[in-house]
């Protein structure tokens, strides 16, 4: 069985997936479609537990939950369709690696550490436009392709200090990095015209930090809060500085309730000041940027001693999206999931299913998002 676990982990870590977030009709706007710093467990609860889940990167204080070495890898598959201003697209699908983490408790100390990867923003799209242009007195049909393939990634190193069983503090450094290959191409139906194509390799650099705490007010109630501040996202196009965009501050808070044995109910609220990026985006002709609110709530039933072995997770999430050319879009997310412990709790296989509805700015997008992850605690 141990060989099977190792094989599973190896498959996930070396799989031919692109290390990117899920994409969307909104991916070409702003700095891209934002990823979520949460693991599969939190996803299954809509993100409601993300302020308290050690296998998420929203609140560094949650890193204090590690009591052993923990390695997590995940893959996510999205199936989506959309309609936007009369255009429709069906059957879109992609598989990505949405989250990965290494976490550990430093034996003999109240300190825990983690190294987390998640996609800060997805930069993948492949857009095709058919049009007719007038050249040299003739109407010539053209096919334009605007594409990008890559991601802005967040690699966070977190340190948590567990002061007591009721209070932990944490801080994290966020290295924002990544790359994308972006370009555009125009083909002509007239054989007398050759194609025009241009491609650049983009590199992203940025830095941020976050701090947070998690406090148990009583046995049934825990609260948490975190603050994150990122500096600017510097974009380098083929070794030349291209743009610099102010990234937002992020405020988050959570409430965790344990009303019954085996039942955990979490709610998380997140505020991001994306309007800070509006001026920078305007200078490069980008979309409007809006501040966002996000509210998620969900519960986990079972999965602890004295309860059912296989937990049931359900959640709901409402989130505003920051980038649009007109009115601010939002998404609604209904999620469910579960987990299976095996090998004496040394490995956990988790999955979540999300039904996502995005709307706004003239577009309607629906998606299914399936996430699988394996966590090993050797």
């Amino acid at each position: 069985m141990r060989k099977v676990h190792v094989l599973l982990l190896a498959l996930i870590l070396t799989a031919p997936v692109v290390a990117e977030a899920q994409s969307s009709v909104y991916s070409p706007l702003g700095i891209g479609f934002l990823g979520r710093p949460i693991g599969t467990r939190s996803r299954a609860t809509g993100g409601g537990l993300s302020s308290f889940d050690g296998r998420s990167a929203l609140n560094p204080a949650a890193t204090g939950g590690f009591r052993s070495l923990s390695i997590t890898g995940s893959i996510g598959t999205q199936l989506r369709s959309y309609s936007a201003l009369g255009a429709t697209a069906d059957g879109l699908r992609e598989t990505r690696a949405p989250f990965g983490q290494f976490g550990a408790w430093i034996r003999g100390t109240p300190l825990s550490v983690s190294l987390t990867y998640y996609p800060y923003a997805d930069r993948t799209y492949n857009l095709i436009a058919i049009d007719t242009v007038d050249i040299r007195g003739d109407s010539v049909q053209t096919a334009d392709r605007i594409f990008s393939d890559g991601t802005v990634a967040d690699i966070a190193g977190a340190l948590a200090y567990t002061i007591s069983s009721r209070l932990s503090l944490g801080g994290a450094i966020h290295l924002i990095t990544g790359s994308a290959r972006a370009g555009a191409r125009r083909d002509f139906a007239h054989t007398g015209y050759l194609s025009a194509a241009e491609q650049v390799n983009l590199g992203f650099n940025g830095l941020g930090f976050s701090v947070g705490f998690m406090a148990a007010l009583m046995r049934q109630i825990t609260i948490s809060a975190a603050f994150r501040n990122d500096n600017r996202l510097e974009t380098i196009a083929d070794s030349v500085a291209f743009s610099s965009i102010q990234l937002p501050m992020t405020f988050s808070g959570g409430l965790l309730l344990r009303p019954l044995p085996g039942l955990v109910w979490g709610t998380t609220v997140i505020r991001q000041t994306w309007s800070d990026a509006a001026q920078d985006l305007e200078q490069i002709g980008g979309a409007n940027a809006y501040d966002t609110w996000e509210m998620a709530s969900g519960f986990e039933l079972g999965g602890v001693p004295g309860s059912t072995r296989i937990p049931l997770r359900l959640g709901f999430r409402y989130a505003q999206l920051p980038f649009s050319s007109s009115d601010q879009p939002h998404e609604i997310d209904i999620s469910a999931g579960s987990a299976i412990d095996f090998a004496g709790d040394r490995a956990v296989l988790e999955f979540s299913v999300e039904r996502i509805f995005r709307k706004g700015g003239g577009a309607d997008e629906n998606a299914w998002y399936l996430t699988f992850s394996v966590t090993l605690r050797p």
Partner: protein
């Protein structure tokens, strides 16, 4: 548990199966990349153009034109290798040379590459074959041979039916058609004419293109080993071939000449803004040339103008970049004889190559295909002409601002 494991493995190993291609809804759901085509005729884009003659002469051309119309005539001429006095007999265990007693006949075989088609009537053009002096060479002119292109020296005529467009032609003539065969050291020289009620032409592949394109076969009686006379044949290849025609009218000294024999080439030096050549994506570039006079040549013929880039601009001795620019004939253009309108030569590949190579001179070479393969010649106004100077019309897409952070 096993199902879950299998599911994870299946999902992981099929992870590359993705489809994110979707319709662009611009500008609302597009990055701020703009694609726009501009088109302009760049004034004074051509400068210091020049023409040079003598790159390929008629006797090294890859084809020879036989043609006739009301004003001009072109005649291929062939001098074959000398026949031996004997023919090899035998086989299997060995051969022995036996003397030729008598030449019965000859068969001339030619390879036709192109011709004019005249399907208006039932009349069939003919290629009369004339006996020529055995000492013809590259200095021989049509005036020198005029006495030989007569009925008295015609040895045969090869019909050219409309069904034959690219094939092998052959004509047979008697062995006594060459009264000085022995005195000429068994060397035969022949000339071709074009006989038809209307103007026309046929292009014959020469030995410079294909060694066995033209051959002469001798059918002879040979004294066999046992005293019997047997009939045998032997074959000779072309030793020299060319074609002769009267000189064309002298061109204007300021004109840009392309084609003819000896072949002329034109060099067009282009001065385009760096914002177009170096920074933009050129999607189409067209060289516009205005003829100074109707394209010269045989009625019904045409010149295939090929535009190519230069590796080095050394004037007449410039070297052409053969590959990969326009070697595929992207810039080849057929212009009929008698054409007086503007000629547009596509040079897109050449102009685009200048962007990728800082060492290529911004010079375009114009020549015909095949060079010196016909008497047809096009003459155009140059940048020194008072009107109708060559210009370049260029369609380009300015640098695309690819989304780089917003």
């Amino acid at each position: 548990m096993r199902c879950a494991t299998a599911l994870v493995i299946a999902l992981t190993t099929t992870a590359c199966n993705e489809n994110v291609v979707s319709p662009a809804v611009c500008p609302e759901f597009c990055p701020p990349a703009t694609l726009e085509v501009f088109d302009s005729i760049v004034p004074a884009s051509v400068e210091r153009d020049s023409a040079f003659r003598g790159y390929v002469v008629a006797h090294v051309s890859k084809q020879a034109q036989v043609a006739a119309d009301d004003t001009v005539e072109s005649n291929p001429i062939f001098r074959f290798q000398a026949f031996e006095d004997s023919i090899q007999l035998g086989g299997g265990f060995g051969t022995v040379a036996r003397p030729v007693l008598e030449t019965d006949s000859f068969r001339l075989r030619l390879t036709l590459s192109r011709r004019s088609l005249d399907t208006a009537g039932t009349e069939v053009p003919e290629l009369p074959v004339y006996r020529l002096p055995a000492d013809i060479d590259s200095s021989t002119t049509q005036a020198d041979l005029e006495p030989y292109f007569q009925d008295s020296t015609e040895v045969t005529a090869i019909p050219l039916p409309d069904s034959v467009t690219r094939d092998t032609l052959s004509g047979v003539f008697p062995g006594d058609a060459f009264p000085t065969f022995r005195e000429d050291s068994n060397v035969v020289a022949l000339g071709l004419g074009y006989r038809f009620s209307r103007p026309g032409y046929a292009d014959i592949i020469t030995s410079d293109s294909m060694r066995l394109a033209t051959i002469l076969i001798r059918f002879a009686k040979v004294d066999s080993i046992d005293g019997n006379i047997v009939e045998r044949s032997d074959t000779v290849m072309v030793d020299f071939d060319s074609y002769v025609h009267p000189p064309l009218p002298a061109p204007d000294p300021n004109s840009l000449n392309i084609g003819g024999a000896p072949a002329a080439r034109t060099l067009i030096r282009v001065n385009l803004p760096g914002s177009i050549v170096d920074s933009s994506s050129v999607v189409r570039a067209t060289l516009i040339l205005v003829p100074t006079e109707p394209v010269l040549g045989i009625t019904g013929d045409s010149v295939i103008i090929l535009a190519e880039a230069l590796a080095y601009d050394l004037g007449a001795k410039s070297s052409i970049v053969v590959s990969p620019l326009d070697s595929a004939g992207q810039g080849a253009l057929g212009t009929p004889v008698g054409w007086t309108d503007t000629v547009r030569v596509e040079v897109t590949h050449i102009v685009r190559a200048w962007k990728s190579s800082a060492t290529l001179p911004h010079t375009i070479s114009l020549r015909v295909l095949p060079e010196a393969g016909s008497i047809a010649e096009a003459r155009f106004n140059s940048s020194r002409s008072p009107v109708g100077q060559p210009v370049i019309e260029i369609s380009y897409v300015p640098p695309i601002v690819v989304q780089g952070g917003g």
